[in-house]
Symmetry: C2
Subunit: 691 residues, 2 copies
């Protein structure tokens, strides 16, 4: 499954050249839709009304996606997208992951702590304003600072004027800037979630595979002033199903793709970034599995993090498989060379764009030199505990708030503050034994890699990592939300005079972390933006904007068809059914991860077993698209995207519709389960618009 | 001697009531001179021209004083004021402290590293502008911040407009604000200094005593563009001497007095501040004496610091003797009570001013609670090494420069930056063995007092203080001025990614230091200013401005007469002579500290032995006045102030002209020694205006 657990480094996104979009490729901007392709290939005339309706029915769900499915603020997403909220609402004695949840009345709906959903209201092209801040004689760093000032001013102005949270999205690696304005909702309540066993049936072995049999959905409802909101732009339910080759759309928030990266950037990922992260996931998975073996409650605590790690690990291995594919890389190299050759033909064009590739390569080379340090300090990999995250946020928030808006670290600008302060105050469960376990591991890594550094020596003082971790976790008072609130109120003074060991730790490593970040921004990011933008402009010049920009965690539209594919000579059907689910469980004798929850076993006789449960389509997607509504021509909700098959992973870099498929829960399957298994008739009525 | 070694906390200056000035008390403002007193008591009509001439001939010499004594930029001050420069120009093989120095030609004059002299050009009353920033509903902290914004804006504006370094001086504890504009000189060269033996004849035993026999002078010359400046406002030489009861003036930079402090503030000094500093000086003196015993070169290295500590120790004990004097404190209490009673009589006056004393007392009580921590961290007492000072300056300079001018720590505002950057780049000797010695001692104190703090634990990591000190000093590269320069250029990035252990130490303790400073400013300083200003305004209302403000390290004029006093029933003569000097040396058989340098011994027969060497007068002075020219009615240089007698020390709090005397080197004695002992005829000709 492809919930974006780690916000994968957006900075690695820059541009290189591919041949223009073919097949059903593309994560398209809502304000630059693929109208002509849709018209030509599918005879579908996409209208502004259709687009606006879908945009306003689409929901940004942290780093993932969702949609409105009733006029009363009902929101549908994946179980694995809502999992954080479900775990936060669970305790040792009320394990909603295990039992599932259904609020038969609105009064029973459970408010999820610290949650925030947003809906994109408007997009404004501010490219001219942002790029207008650059002067030709500026260095890459100066240009980045100049743009940054304009960006933060525009964001602040728009946020204040429109009363909408406004952020500027950097597209095509800094050659386009669009201002996105969001309405933000913070009262989000859990309405329905199935048992983890059926939401994630097949577990890690079946993750990123197809055929699939997962009931990976969860429903929330958005409230304002203690009343469900009026969500007039919601998706009506498709009850008539989908045919093979039928045109469908997915509307969601793909996190990050690298299709326009240069070869050097891909090599950086292949040789530096991915090997490190894969090894780290492997080690942490093994450790968390051991932790879970200590007992049932330990297993419950480890379930969420373990899912996240296994999911990311499988995805990253999949991405890496693309980069390790020599044919794919050779193709990429050839295309890049062809583009560079084309540029070299005209001396003026060469002067303008020619050096960009080499300068980008140099930036990657520089980054490789301090990538590990960056990851351990600024990335926080050396201090894996939620408490460190809290402490760093409190320390930095206090420091940044005392600066002018446009000089702050970007995540602490005014536009983002309500979100941060809400999150830091949210009451969510945290398990000290698990925190010690995680922190010990990361400190061990830190000492192995950076034991020679003064800060690390100070922190360890000759003690083993476990003792250090235990002291830090036992000493911190940040578990108490009131304590966190008091730091928010107390500002820098409270932070500076804190005696909390976790705050002290955050203060201890903040200088070197900030230093590495600054170095990264100066030596890597600014060069990536400058040269990435150059390459993009060269591409526009030579080929126009037929290729959509790489994903940026913002709303995109993709299209495709419901379609089988051939694997090992076998044609894979485009839907699975409830019958297939029961068959698969039987084949594995109901042993984990093919164990069915009692609700499914008990209701088997009532279910219409040939009802479609999951289905596939060619529409382009990647991590972050989890929870995206899949929509037919009429704009009806036809399913919810929850995964891609294993062949879709290399599509992070090169898309092909031959075998690449997104995997959805079918709208008919959802109705069948809600009706027959969960007896959720009021919910079904709401989805179908029946009173 | 009263060179201001430690800039004694200016914040402890606030107001209380004394009866109006009587006798010759007063460190008067040049823009609010005691004209009527001078007229009434001495029939001296002080003119604007006289004042302006003296002001422009007076020099600010670090925390002390000096004056122009020729039209070619020649500056006279004390040897102990110039001592830092003399030591910086000395090496193991060229010990100018021992040998003295005389540049027979201008080419031989030695440029002193990092030195900065300034001359006050203009004073502007900006009280209305500064206080106009306050609003009645502001808390003390808000008011302080509002004033601060105006102050830094005015300073910046004036510095830029006038091309003069401009700083605002807070007078009468925040009830008056004057803008001082200085011309700053940075090319300062050593012209003449005598041997330490005669400059500080009598050493610590005779320090702060009288009769005295010290040749405590040094001459520098100010250059600009490699040429001596044209100093048209210089003091002509008084060759005709001084008579008993003759009116004289001292013009200099008294550092800090506490005559307008409330009883609570004096009690804070008596019970909290002075006991701590006295104990610290005692311990450090003992240690430095031990260090000096290791050998001749060790003694040479320890000489400067030891002088400073002994000087401060004796002064502080003298101040404390005033506070421990029960009669003096009872008088003070009675006066304060009478003032408060007078205020209580009118309900409106009482409402406006009545609470100020209790609120001040509360602020002192609060400060007592964290005074020690403040001293060790923000005060730097825990890290006694010049390297820590450099590291902290580099760390803070980088951090503060990235903030808007008016939000910086006040010493890092634009107006002060040239001075700081010059000082940090200056090439001055630093002795690692002495640094380890001092740092070890302070770390031992730190651990004893604050060993429980996380930062301290980290720093020690279980090791003894000496090992920690050795590692820090051996590891730092800050000895190299080029390294310091590179941090200046590299800014925050260089600091954050530094691997220098001293920079790391400064970063480690900076948060808690800043926290304590902020706490001090919020809980103590702002209350002192607010309530001190209230008490001052009450005083203005009841008694006008007949009492000058307490000293603030800025230019002041005091007056008095050359006058004997009676001690133990014995009348003390108002001058001493060369004869007296030789007699005293003989009495102690020329043993240290009564050892005469060879130059004096050899020249004895040539000297006119009844020439006055030192003399005394009643004019008010305190630490910082060292180097002040003492001037007769005609405005002639008649001597240089270098000390006060022991009876003058309690005058920090209560002045009396009964026994309180300032001690000077006589202008005739200076001529005699330069001519007969040092054969410095060209210099004498320059002083006398002969070609």
């Amino acid at each position: 499954m492809r919930h974006r657990y780690a916000k994968i480094l957006i900075f690695i996104l820059a541009l290189s050249l591919f041949t223009p979009a073919f097949a059903d490729e593309g994560l398209w901007l809502f304000n630059m839709p693929p109208s002509s392709v849709l018209k030509a290939k599918y005879n579908f005339a996409i209208t502004p009304e259709w687009l606006q309706h879908v945009q306003l029915a689409s929901i940004r769900f942290g780093g993932a996606s969702g949609s409105f499915v009733s006029p009363d603020g009902l929101v549908l997403t994946n179980h694995h997208v809502g999992q954080g909220a479900i775990q936060n609402l669970s305790t040792k004695d009320r394990d909603l992951m295990r039992t599932g949840f259904y609020a038969r009345t609105r009064a029973e709906e459970l408010k999820a702590p610290g949650m925030e959903l947003s809906v994109l209201q408007e997009i404004e092209d501010v490219t001219a304003k942002v790029l207008g801040a650059e002067r030709p004689d500026m260095t890459a760093v100066q240009a980045a600072e100049a743009r940054d000032k304009v960006i933060s001013a525009l964001e602040k102005e728009s946020t204040e004027k429109a009363g909408l949270r406004s952020t500027i999205v950097n597209l095509y690696s800094g050659s386009m800037y669009h201002l996105y304005k969001y309405k933000v909702y913070t009262d989000v309540r859990l309405v329905f979630s199935p048992e983890y066993l059926i939401a994630f049936f097949g577990g890690d072995p079946d993750n990123f595979t197809y055929p699939r049999y997962d009931f990976d959905i969860t429903l929330f409802r958005i409230y304002e002033n203690d009343k469900p909101i009026n969500s007039k732009h919601y998706l009506k339910w498709n009850t008539s199903g989908l045919k093979e080759n039928e045109l469908v759309f997915a509307s969601g928030h793909p996190g990050s793709t690298g299709r326009l990266l240069t070869l050097a950037q891909m090599e950086f990922l292949r040789d530096v970034s991915y090997p490190t992260t894969i090894a780290n996931y492997e080690r942490r998975r093994a450790l968390l599995q051991e932790y879970g073996k200590r007992g049932l409650e330990y297993a419950r605590q480890a379930q969420g993090p373990l899912f996240g790690i296994e999911n990311s690990l499988k995805a990253t291995i999949g991405y890496q498989s693309g980069l390790l594919d020599k044919a794919l890389m050779a193709k990429k190299a050839k295309e890049e060379q062809a583009f560079r050759d084309a540029i070299r033909k005209d001396p003026a064009t060469d002067r303008e764009f020619g050096k960009a590739w080499d300068e980008l390569a140099l930036a990657e080379k520089r980054f490789a030199e301090f990538f590990k340090a960056y990851r351990f300090f600024e990335g926080g990999a050396g201090f894996s505990t939620g408490y460190f995250g809290m402490a760093r946020t409190l320390v930095r928030l206090a420091a940044e708030k005392s600066k002018p808006n446009d000089e702050r670290l970007r995540e602490y600008r005014d536009a983002g503050l309500p979100s941060i302060t809400r999150r830091i105050q949210a009451v969510t469960p945290i398990y000290n034994e698990l925190e010690v376990f995680n922190l010990t591991d990361s400190l061990n890594q830190l000492q192995k890699e950076f034991g020679i550094m003064q800060e690390v020596k100070w922190l360890f003082a000759g003690k083993p990592a476990e003792d250090v971790a235990k002291e830090l976790i036992a000493g911190t008072k940040l578990k108490d939300p009131e304590v966190r609130k008091s730091y928010l109120a107390g500002g820098l003074d409270a932070v500076y005079l804190s005696e909390d060991p976790m705050i002290k730790l955050a203060l201890l490593v903040d200088p070197v972390s900030r230093g590495l970040r600054k170095k990264y921004e100066a030596e890597v990011e600014s060069a990536e933006t400058r040269n990435g933008a150059l390459i993009a402009r060269a591409m526009f010049k030579l080929k126009g904007t037929a290729i959509p920009p790489d994903a940026t965690s913002t709303l995109r539209l993709s299209f495709g068809t419901v379609k089988t594919y051939v694997e090992s000579g076998k044609k894979i059907p485009f839907t699975t059914t409830f019958q297939g689910l029961f068959d698969k469980a039987a084949k594995f004798a109901g042993k984990p991860p093919y164990e069915l929850p009692p609700s499914f076993l008990q209701a088997k006789t009532k279910i219409k077993l040939d009802t479609p449960l999951n289905f596939i389509a060619t529409c382009d997607s990647i991590g972050g698209n989890s929870g995206s509504p899949v929509i037919n021509r009429k704009g009806e909700f036809s399913g919810v995207l929850f995964d891609g098959n294993i062949q879709s992973l290399p599509a992070r870099f090169v898309y092909s519709d031959e075998q690449n498929r997104s995997v959805m829960v079918h709208s008919q399957g959802i109705l069948e389960a809600l009706t027959k298994i969960y007896n959720a008739q009021p919910l079904v009525n709401e989805l179908l618009g029946k009173k």
